[in-house]
């Protein structure tokens, strides 16, 4: 019988490593404190605050028109949807009747924003697991949406196109044509995404069965958006609490039950198809009418509390306003999807390898300014 050799020169112990704040896979200034045994992750502790700009506090100073442009700078990849959330909250509080034209344009632009956000996510997702080509293909298609936004809204990323009461400007005459061109273009490109990355054997080995999140955990951690839906948790705000013109269109809520990294990937790819079909249904039927309802120059919300939630590309964004009847809110709280989705990272990454953590984080699709605000 062999006796067990006890090494005294070598010992196994856990150690810390810092991932970030300047790491290309953290997509921003997120610092992760990893406790590691060999290459097995024992604990992940996110350290936030590197890009905190106190947006919520600034909202208490600003007028309601000015708040809208701050929300561009939270989740900058779904800037238009963030704008819409604040505008809807203010409009509901004022009980403004919004023209149908505004609702339809808002929905179209919101879905285009979602596609552009998912394009970027798909590019960096591939890059995180080692496929650099996807980055260029994702950005190529995103460029067309950026041009549409630039022509209509005036900016490519921080549009500030919505104002309480409607839209800042009417859509550009070329808007409809450009969007139709994009639909035709993107329908040929999306299958390429699948051929290039989805079926790839290396990609599947990296993602299938990695970072599994059960439905119960998704609910208890407050996961929303594609992260929740990949675990079978039906949480699409557009389905359950329709806003703008989303109740006029038919679309499927994409649900998967596996809850792993690959399922989250598939949900987002499928969501691009759904968004494309929503845009397609609406683009020919933009009603005529006003693009804006005139509001008072100084908007004062009646005293009370107001809540509005929308579905951004990352999940559920909630805007909670407490008004005391003055020109700025007494308190404005954003419930950002990224923060809740980050909170479950420790839960699903423990036990995996460092490489799995990168793949898992890529499908959580974190935008750090949205988490820190």
């Amino acid at each position: 019988m062999e006796t067990e050799v006890v090494h005294t020169n070598f010992k196994s112990e856990e150690y810390f490593i810092n991932m970030g704040p300047q790491h290309p896979a953290t997509h921003g200034v997120l610092r992760l404190l990893l406790t590691i045994d060999g290459e097995i992750i024992k604990k992940v502790e996110p350290d936030l605050g590197y890009i905190h700009r106190s947006i919520e506090k600034m909202c208490e100073r600003d007028s309601y028109q000015q708040i809208v442009h701050l929300t561009d700078r939270m989740d900058y990849l779904s800037a238009n949807i963030n704008n819409e959330a604040v505008c809807l909250a203010v409009e509901n509080a004022l009980q403004l009747e919004i023209p149908e034209r505004v609702k339809v344009i808002r929905t179209i632009i919101g879905e285009l924003t979602r596609i552009s956000s998912h394009c970027l996510w798909w590019g960096v997702m591939g890059m995180d697991v080692g496929a650099l080509t996807t980055y260029f293909y994702g950005f190529r298609d995103r460029e067309m949406i950026n041009d549409i936004m630039e022509e209509t809204c005036g900016a490519r990323l921080t549009m500030n196109y919505n104002v309480p009461g409607g839209l800042m400007l009417d859509i550009h005459p070329n808007f409809v044509k450009r969007v139709k061109d994009f639909i035709v273009h993107f329908k040929t490109k999306l299958p390429e995404y699948d051929r290039l990355l989805t079926g790839n054997v290396i990609f599947q080995k990296r993602t299938v069965g990695v970072g599994i999140l059960s439905k119960e955990d998704a609910i208890s951690f407050g996961a929303s958006g594609p992260v929740g839906r990949a675990s079978g948790y039906s949480c699409d705000v557009r389905k359950h609490h329709p806003y703008s013109a989303i109740d006029k269109v038919t679309f499927n809520e994409v649900l998967k039950t596996e809850g792993d990294t690959y399922a989250r990937y598939l949900v987002r790819i499928q969501e691009m198809w759904e968004s494309l079909s929503i845009v397609e249904q609406l683009i020919d039927n933009i009603p005529e009418g006003e693009h804006r309802v005139t509001t008072n120059a100084v908007i004062k919300l009646p005293k009370g509390e107001y809540f509005q939630k929308v579905e951004t590309a990352r999940g559920e964004l909630g805007v909670y306003i407490i008004s005391t009847g003055t020109k700025s809110p007494y308190r404005l709280k954003f419930r950002s999807p990224g923060f809740s989705n980050l909170s479950l990272l420790n839960h699903i990454a423990v036990g995996g390898k460092i490489g799995d953590l990168v793949a898992t984080m890529a499908t959580l699709d974190l935008v750090i300014p949205d988490i820190d605000r």
Binding site: H69, C153, G154, V201
Partner: protein, 158 residues
Amino acid sequence: MSYFSDIYKGIKTLLTGMSVTGKYFLTSRKGAITQQYPDNRDTLKMFDRFRGEVIMPHDENNEHRCTGCQKCEIACPNGTIEIIWDRGIDEVTGKKKKKIDQFVYHLSMCTMCGLCIDVCPTDAIEWGQNFENSVYDRSALTRVLNKPGSKLMPGVED
């Protein structure tokens, strides 16, 4: 057996992906979307709504449309606009009237939200399409938008 079929499937998926990249490798000239930026400056035209910087158009008589109502200054979230104003005598009515002395615009603080242009009652300011704003000293980004010696266009009231 599954060992070999796995290898076969793996190579097949890799080749499928390679066919996509190979297609673009062969047709890259046609589909290139990157712009040769500094070389195409003469032909590069930005969209007419593009938010580059705030400008104040003047007509041939060196007249602008700004009455100095300061609505843009109030609408601006960042204190980008500073209007230094004075009271002058209106030539037609002979009454005292507000007029701008200097319309100071701090481009370095501007977030391009467009609220000032949205709120302007006389369309005195609008977006310029210039985006090449790199300078050696940030004081060069503080601009006075009204030209020296310019005055209010007659007939513009807020």
